[in-house]
Symmetry: C2
DNA sequence: TGGCGTTTTTGCCTCACAAGCGATAACCTC
DNA sequence: GAGGTTATCGCTTGTGAGGCAAAAACGCCA
């Protein structure tokens, strides 16, 4: 049981990794995880293990990815692992153990087992869901300006994002709401930006996939 | 390890189920599955177990769903199960063991364990992917008319589908190709329909989710 | 107090694609 | 060949994404 815990830090999408002390893969970096206890579900267990690395209340979203089952993935003994995607909102800086660090996804160190694959598929899942769900809530702080949100999306998606388009898409889908607050940019002038928040902090699918919809049947 | 094996039969989406002889859940219907051996991946194992129920060559698509881990899901002993979605093209009629039958998804008998939930999530996955991938290849026979394909999609999606719209969507995405053959409808007249086939029989994502695309950068 | 630079927000336009509908094409049978 | 039947194509509409530029709302400084 493993989690790819992702957060946008310093403008880059980063993953929480810890450095192994022992063989196999000594000195390699690995995803946080652990074993399943008798009376818990995989998700409960994952949250329990993550609590050793970060404050679990800071994990805004946790979902199952694939269960990895290659007999060779662990060279010492047969081991299945269910991978999770965890997201931490930008802004919080969890205190982590001394063997644990954040690593930008585009500058990964040498990883243990099949963890590099897991990280990439976690990023793919995140990128997909950012486009057709409200998953942005799990990357964003409680309130934010659209420029800040644009930078978050750009870091997570890996390509530039237009703030004006992002605003229209998210507002039309009614994912954002105005908090009433305004914020000025740094010291130099500029129009103060309105602070938004996500209307919901639970995953919702917003795009109807736009194809092969049921007919309208108006007549 | 379990599989929701789906096929469109007699115009309805149906699932392959076998009837349990012993407790727990005696006489209830269950998804085909089995235990993982030491030297195989989950997918290999799933194919091996399915071979006892149907000819595996008839399973055109197999993908992992969720791994179920509720400690109570099996009342006798703790058991994890990785669920799969399997698809059998319409037209083939696999010979199945005597305890095994096809059941329409909208008329399910009493199911063992959490298998009803798994079936519904399998159907959701199928419906979603029919809209933004070429997954239709796994439900369709090697060649077909558009009217036949429309009926397949309608059965799988659970709502009426317009043949003309289906044609335009799939042709624009270049998922279908003309086989050159034509086929007449029954005995009464009518213009012969062109027979199509899917250009690829491997899963391909076709819809780019239409949002938050990278900018065009033409200038 | 008014201009200027900066940043945000809104309005207008275009484009792509899904979807509805009617017209046309291509057969059959009688 | 006329009429019925089925398939296919073309025209049109509607919706949402995306680009661009104008307008709004500040701070700062003369």
């Amino acid at each position: 049981m493993l989690a790819a815990v992702l957060q946008v830090r310093e403008g880059r999408l980063q993953a929480l990794l810890w450095q192994r002390a022992r063989e196999p893969f000594a000195a390699c970096w690995a995803l946080p995880g652990g074993a399943l206890a008798a009376d818990e579900t995989l998700e409960e267990s994952m949250r329990r293990h993550l609590a050793e690395k970060v404050d679990v209340r800071e994990v805004a979203h946790l979902e199952q990815l694939e269960t990895r089952s290659d007999p060779q993935r662990n060279p010492t003994r047969r081991e299945l692992a269910t991978a999770f995607l965890g997201l931490v909102p930008s802004g919080v800086d969890p205190s982590v153990p001394s063997d644990t660090r954040w690593h930008p996804l585009d500058e990964l160190p040498e990883l243990a087992y099949d963890h590099a694959e897991i990280l990439l598929s976690a990023r793919e899942r995140l990128r997909g869901k950012l486009s057709y769900t409200n998953l942005g809530f799990a990357l964003a702080p409680p309130s934010f300006t659209l420029a800040e949100l644009r930078d978050l999306y750009a870091a997570a998606l890996g390509h530039p994002v237009s703030a004006t388009n992002l605003q229209r898409v998210l507002l039309r889908r009614r994912l954002l709401e105005d908090t009433g607050e305004r914020r000025h940019y740094g010291s130099g002038g500029g129009r103060p930006a309105t602070m938004y928040r996500f209307r919901s902090t639970r995953l919702e699918v917003t795009d109807q996939f736009a194809v092969l919809r049921p007919p309208t049947m108006i007549s």
